[in-house]
Symmetry: C2
DNA sequence: CTCTATTTTAAACACCCGTTTAAATTAAAC
DNA sequence: GTTTAATTTAAACGGGTGTTTAAAATAGAG
């Protein structure tokens, strides 16, 4: 067996950067392989298809993030039965920032990929995420619902999707927004400060009494 | 001069439907012209390019919506100097729903197009909207800021973008969400009920006190 | 009716895409 | 060192894209 990891990793590293920056369908395999300095055909050799490469890029982050986030929520619920929405959202910040230890710019890249993933390609990515990480997602949804018991389940469904939209859109365009905020308000943000800004916004929206 | 309007309108009608459903880059000119039952080359003849067609599709709605929405906000601010955020967001509902009088499914189509527009094609659409409708947008931003004077401008910048994300993402995937809500909660929504659900969420998030 | 300008049409152009093939190369096993 | 398996490579395949061209058809003006 030859040195399998190197080419594969080079492809994943180049792909995740380009996918996060430009989106999946706007990033061609030829661009990825030229940045990675590997042959075009090696993507299909190692991953089978572009779709599977996309899934592999996301899985590399989700496999790290999801179990940690899940464990943190379990821990929070065990230690504080009346955890607030702010507490629940906030407990995800550290696992998110820890992705910077996995790879440089890991947090920002992961969140942007997640945004792109939900915005583009209705089919296979949603399916991939819900079937592979559904239990973790359910647990998160349940934790949020328990923290806002005055919101009926159907209303909570909508509010969680509003929340998803806020996060996904903000993260997908975070780089541009951070630049504009710096130019217009001399306010120098990074992904962490943006995450900390969005949490109160989300908590307030999710928990606002219905009528 | 020949019957110029028919082909042009057929293209716009087919294009806006397909763009709203599938996004801009996922919709080919060949698909549009076959649905519109016109020749492929007529798009370039009447609009110049695909980009200009996209702008024309959006302009047809924005030209109706923006002046009306603007006038309503002026009217509200004149009649009630202490209009709440809910009031401001709510005053946009009627102009939005009036788009159903312009064309069938007008409201839903317009909002989905707006969502697609902000998600895709970073460059030309943002530029087009801000340069052509910038005054109306500024007025709206100012009205919101006046209604939440306790939020500093830089913070308001971020919250308005969170809001944009919520709206854009929700509207771009509204059809799918309405279906899921019907299946999972036997709750039968349409674009109007979704708009009315999202407004309190947005108002709460935008006005929540910082720290 | 005739002439001119506008519009429609079929065809081709030039380019980019993901994927496949088969040969060349490299690494591992014996 | 030879054989076998894994990997890399260059090239081509088949298909889709937006756009352009030049001829045909249509409509309006004199």
């Amino acid at each position: 067996m030859a040195n399998r990891s190197d080419t594969k990793t080079r492809i994943l590293d180049a792909a995740e950067k380009l996918f996060a920056e430009r989106g999946f369908s706007e990033t061609s395999l030829r661009l990825i392989t030229s940045k990675a300095e590997v042959n075009l055909a090696s993507v299909n050799y190692h991953f089978g298809s572009k779709k599977e490469l996309i899934r592999a890029v996301l899985a590399r982050y989700l496999d790290v993030f999801m179990p940690v986030a899940s464990a943190e929520i379990v821990r929070l619920q065990a230690s504080d039965k009346n955890a607030s929405l702010n507490d629940i959202f906030s407990i995800l910040v550290e696992p998110l920032l820890d992705l910077n230890k996995v790879r440089a710019e890991g947090t920002s890249t992961f969140l942007q990929l997640l945004g792109r993933g939900y915005i583009e390609s209705q089919g296979h990515l949603r399916w991939f995420i819900t079937t592979h990480y559904g239990e973790h997602l359910d647990q998160f949804v349940k934790a949020v619902a328990d923290s806002a018991p005055h919101i009926p389940p159907a209303e909570m469904f909508w509010r969680l999707h509003f929340t998803l939209g806020t996060v996904v859109f903000t993260m997908a365009s975070a780089d541009a927004l951070i630049e504009i905020a710096a130019a217009d308000f001399s306010e120098h943000n990074n992904i962490e400060t943006v995450i900390r800004k969005v949490i109160p916004y989300l908590s307030a929206g999710v928990s606002v009494p219905v009528n």
